[in-house]
């Protein structure tokens, strides 16, 4: 069986800074992979290089056996790869419900025909399901930009699922979300994973969340993979402890 996503020798330089330095890994369909590592270890940059948000300096990415190296975010999205952002990225003036519909409306069908489609592009019911799932019904009609940080984070995550992606890259979904919701988020993601077979790669500093959700974890430090394996073994790895606590 070939992996769903395969990353080979990925490198990204920002001038003299080597943010990602030869990272290779693969993810199987249906897997939930965790990515941990100290601040500035290159996790977000790795995501951005995989997702075409920045041009990789070197390396190759394949999705379902097809080369997608350096492909633009738009086309990756249409291939079935969704993402969430570490920094808030919602459509601030649109309502929460419109944010969700906007995140799903461009999949399937022709752009020209959408001009004459129903205003909700046939996604109203799906948006409402998502709103119920993420418990944001009481703010569904407010502009997304007026919500609290944690609420916007939930909108951001819900948006990534509107198009039924096969692979979702989540960048710190728990940051700023209240602890009670984090458990719900864990359940939610596991539920989506089991029901739809969607594959996740999750960057997260919250170790409980990673331990609960992920079957396998990669720890990055200074742009490289320091350790890889079951969450407990990675967490116990002395090199990992040193990377977090050391200089």
């Amino acid at each position: 069986m070939t992996a769903l996503l395969n990353v080979r020798d990925m490198r990204k330089d920002y001038g003299a800074i080597r943010a990602v330095d030869g990272v290779s890994f693969s993810v199987d369909a249906g897997e939930i992979l965790g990515v941990i590592g100290p601040n500035g270890s290159g996790k977000t940059t790795l995501f951005n290089a995989i997702l075409g948000q920045v041009t990789p300096s070197a390396g190759a990415v394949t999705f379902e056996g097809q080369s997608v190296t350096g492909i633009k975010p738009l086309h990756l999205a249409r291939l079935g790869i969704g993402r969430t952002f570490q920094t808030l990225q919602v459509f601030g003036q649109l309502s929460v419900r419109d944010n969700l519909i906007a995140a799903g409306q461009e999949f399937g069908g022709s752009t020209w025909r959408r001009l004459f489609a129903a205003p909700d592009a046939g996604l109203g019911a799906r948006a409402d399901d998502m709103i119920a799932l993420f418990r944001i019904g009481h703010v569904a009609h407010l502009p997304a930009g007026s919500l609290s940080y944690g609420q916007q984070k939930l909108v951001d995550i819900a948006m990534a699922f509107m198009s039924r992606p096969r692979l979702v890259l989540l960048d710190e979904p728990c940051a700023g979300v209240n602890p009670a919701l984090i458990d719900q988020l864990t359940d939610l993601l596991r539920q989506v994973n089991q029901q739809t077979g969607a594959t996740f790669i999750v960057i997260e500093h919250n170790m409980d969340f990673v331990m609960n959700l992920c079957a396998r974890v990669i720890c990055m430090a200074q742009g490289r993979i320091l350790a890889e394996g079951a969450p407990a073994s990675v967490q116990a790895n002395p090199a990992v402890l040193e990377a977090y606590l050391g200089s």
Binding site: F85, F91, Q93, L94, I101, A102, R114, P119
Partner: protein
Amino acid sequence: MTRLWQAALLLFALVAIYLLPGTLKNYGVYIVTLWSVYVIAGMGLNLTVGYAGQISLGQAAFWGIGAYTTAIALKAGLPFFAALPLSAALCFGVGLLLGFPALRVQHHYLAFATLGFNVLVFLAFRNEDWLTGGTFGINNIPRPILFGWRLRAPLDFFHLTWIATVVMGALMALLLRSPWGRAFAALRDNPIRAESVGIDTTFYTLLAFAIGAAYAGVAGAFFAPLVGFIEPAPFAVTTSLSMLLMVIAGGSGRLFGPAIGAIVVVLLPEWLRFAAEWYLAIFGVLIVVMMVWLPGGLLSIPDRLRAARVLK
């Protein structure tokens, strides 16, 4: 207010505007017709700027292209209802081209790119005598003929212009309600996020310019027979600035913003005429006051009042 009441109020306003100029003298009718023309151009610019978030200081150039195209076509004997779509189509095409710089630069850089375009078009109007008549312009532009009836009377021509304005407004409302409207707003609010959820920002950026330009083309097509004589001056950058002011003063990204904004830009200077040479100064002060206290435009007043009531 229920939707039904809103619809009734809107219908009342549309009909009232249709009838009102019947009580005015010729000059008054001319001013209201000019307002109506500006509203069409403003609705287009509101799509580009207010909904899709692309700054443009070139709307008057499209207005001019529409006006010259119609003037030349009418003089060549083409009927108005052939010249009108021609003007719109030509502006759509040129607008598409102006969209390309917007794919590369944003904000003030884009402002200058579009301003440069307006200057270029203005120079073409002035220097290409063989086509545009240069500084002498084109005169004796005939009024449209409708069912064998030439709309020579100012009031008749106003009625045609107003009906066109309402139709263009209805089309804009439909466009904005469609998934396209949401995609334009997504492009404005966050282009990076838009790409990541499959929204083709290249496509929507180009279309925002092209459709906005087509509206200016339609406005120009009505402007030429309204004034009967066109020369380069009305299509200079200052008019583009007025049109941008119109969109912002009315309430950028609000459907009825341009209609209110055009009152500020077209009618307010007329009402201020009593102040003689002071009118420009008063106009300037009013604009400064409004931009400082009402950056969301006149149509943001109800929201402001509602918010104030909630705080109490």
